[in-house]
Symmetry: C2
Subunit: 461 residues, 2 copies
């Protein structure tokens, strides 16, 4: 630990746990993107809010850039430290602090994993409904930083809707208690909402009061095989009208191929281009009958070619694995990822343009797409050919992403649905937000972080 | 129209409708508060976004203060023009622009009334669930400016949750299209959410994309009479656990007295200190049976002294009128109003302190309170004695509000649940928001309105 800044920091915060070993710098310096070489100054692992405040105050005085860090499962480089920043990891601040049964608020530190939140909610007979595959590793602080979405948005909305209060250390080290769990509070700007989705650029989230809700009704899971892309929207429209959907996820045959090769169990014999995992309320026979009728309607219309209804919890888990295992099955290939959103009504026209664009621009590459069609959210994964250099591959994908961003802009879409902008999509922010909006965001950032130490370079330079 | 500024404005925007008659200045210069003498420079009634932009640009150049204005049903003075401001009324921009059935988004201009929104939603077989008694006069722009709540928050949340997109003219006249109806959009700061509840200080809302939802299930309405204050929370806990509440509103005997004197129909013979109007899902006999059981449980526990279940739509309307007619019944007496919020769990301890405070500080005055107990929101109305001057009355109420604000602060509450801060609660903002938060809000305001022309003096000076 030869850097004099670190000596000073440990003098200022004697109790602070600080890591400087190379293995730790690499481990904490990157997220699930693997595009940037991790190169942090050091890794601070504060154990209390006071330590976070002391670090931020010091960093602000000394102009040391900080990268707030959770589970680092992000896919946009928002938690990458590649420029000598101090990683401020919340990983030790991972306690569930308490539960208020009357207001149904679960108080947690920012470093608690999503799965631990689920378990704590369940232990009180309630549900924290935001959910996605990285649940075991991602932290609630990171979820808040990107306004995480996932597989239940169609029923429950995004993280934004489940935050009753936030405890935040602002860029000058001041502690903010935002909204404090109030259901109604019309007393000026809702800085809590401003903080959600700000990717660590406006403050360091150190704690949250999470709203819990009643457990979801008993559900049934169905896997469908569809003959063509149009059928995706048609079946979604049909199912949304006739069933109470809890999830409606789709993937392509290409995604199925990878997830099967990765060990998932084949659940349907059909060899068709599109698949859907639908989950819907199944309280009683009438609900199950309605699902069967919707399925038969879809078959009769020619939108559904084949299907399976899970007969048990374990079969439902098998069906879900086909969808949830995709990201993991692709990870060894280091895919380039797009995470885009549109209004659902804009989807059909966009999908046609997108398919033509991808076929034209990625002739030599495998393109795997899947996502949350009921939220207007698609994930596109491009796999590099074996014989292509990484830099060349990324450069090619970035050129295509520019074209995709232009197409999205024409259809009123967003270049980031739920992964955030981070470093990966910074150059495309202007396709989703106007110059006037970006100028206002820049001004807001300056207000919260006048020293420019909070995740600099992320979101916008 | 002798003011040279107005001559210049009409030269710049020749098509602009501008009112300068005294009656118009009075009409448009005040809201439902009656504490400030209306004194606007003039009243601009733009008919298009372009006209709004031109007015704001001009005002920004010439440093003319603007007061954005909707239905002026506000209770905090947020739409008062008492210092020579130009009133920018959105009242002519009151069209429903369109409906997107796939995304269930209703596009409206800001000046449309809440009732017109309800009707448009109904015409598409859907529901816009924010609702309160001023629905016929208040506008959606004003609802957005204060993040209006109302009687369905317990089921559906506040206005904040129903805004898919906002069209806003910022302080420099630039047009912002915020979020554009996307369900998922993690691309930087959510300026839409920042705008909601900002009381016209960050931009002029000119249009919105409102999310619609399925109509509420068939409901049953119950009126309950309760023997003491503790029973309010106890019955709420009981009903919330056993029924699917759509509303849970309470009022005191004092409120009942006024609303009956104002022509509402007596629906219950009991003469008890507290009353509740509860509305809950009643899809079938099982639901109705559950409601009867909950009622009987409450009676057995001694929390409910008497009750009525509406046997028809019209009887339900009669019961609702007892709650919804209160504000109107008090209006002729020009009450001083508090609109406070707490976590529900903080309510019992707070209520005791509050009651003691009100009894001690308002010995000569009628104190009428009621509200949304399930949201932690109370409305306190102080009626002036016949023989007291208005100024003396207000000064007295403000002294007591200071004590109330201190009490709220100790219990983690808010000085404004749903009415906003405006002019009325400006001096008490510091009881709800910390100095650090207010400094950040001040900075944000400066970013959006560098010329300081948007509703100056409101929220904070």
């Amino acid at each position: 630990m030869t850097d004099p800044r670190l000596t000073e920091l440990t003098t200022r915060v004697p109790s602070l746990r600080l890591l400087t070993e190379l293995a730790d710098l690499i481990h904490y310096g990157r997220d699930w993107t693997r595009r940037w070489g991790p190169s942090p100054l050091a890794v601070a692992l504060p154990g209390s809010i006071e330590e976070v405040q002391a670090i931020v105050q010091w960093a602000s005085e000394r102009q040391v850039a900080l990268v707030p860090s959770g589970g680092r499962t992000g896919l946009s480089g928002g938690a990458v430290a590649a420029r000598g920043e101090l990683v401020l990891s919340l990983e030790r601040m991972n306690r569930v602090l308490g539960f208020d049964a009357t207001d149904r608020l679960l108080s947690v530190e920012a470093g608690v994993t999503l799965q631990a939140v689920h378990e704590a909610a369940r232990s009180h007979g309630l549900l924290y409904p935001v959910d996605f595959a990285a649940r075991g590793s991602c932290t609630i602080g990171g979820n808040i930083a990107t306004n995480a979405g996932g597989i239940r948005v169609i029923r429950y909305g995004t993280t934004r809707e489940w935050i009753g209060g936030l405890t935040v250390v602002a860029g000058n080290g001041q502690l903010l208690e935002l909204n404090r769990g109030l259901l109604k509070n019309s007393s000026g700007y809702d800085l809590r909402q401003l903080m959600i989705g700000s990717e660590g650029t406006l403050g360091v989230v150190v704690g949250a009061q999470l709203k819990l809700t009643d457990p979801a009704p008993p559900a049934q899971t169905m896997l469908l095989a569809l003959p063509h892309m149009e059928a995706l929207m048609q079946v979604f429209g049909l199912f949304r009208a006739q069933l109470k959907l809890q999830a409606f996820e789709f993937f392509t045959d290409m995604a199925l191929k990878h997830v099967l090769a990765h060990g998932a169990q084949r659940a349907i014999d059909a060899d068709l281009p599109y698949y859907v995992v639908a989950e819907y309320d199944a309280l009683d026979d009438a609900d199950e009958q309605a699902a069967l009728l919707a399925f038969e309607d879809g078959v009769r219309e020619g939108w559904i070619a084949d299907g399976v209804i899970a007969q048990s919890q374990s079969q439902a888990a098998t069906l879900w694995r086909l969808r949830e295992g995709i990201t993991e099955s692709l990870a060894p290939r280091k895919p380039y990822k797009n995470d885009i959103a549109l209004r659902i009504g804009a989807m059909p026209a966009f999908l046609h343009e997108m398919q033509a664009l991808l076929a034209r621009e990625y002739p030599r590459m495998e393109v795997v797409w899947f996502g949350h069609i009921g939220d207007g959210n698609l994930h596109i994964n491009i796999l590099p050919p074996e014989d292509m250099q990484l830099a060349e591959f990324i450069a090619h994908c970035e050129r295509v992403t520019r074209l995709l961003a232009d197409t999205l802009q024409r259809h009123g879409g967003s270049i980031s649905a739920e992964h955030g902008i981070g470093l990966v999509k910074r150059d495309y922010l202007g396709s989703t937000r106007s110059a006037a909006e970006i100028a206002l965001m820049r001004g807001v950032r300056q207000v919260f972080d006048p020293s420019g130490i909070l995740n600099p370079g992320k979101l916008f330079e």
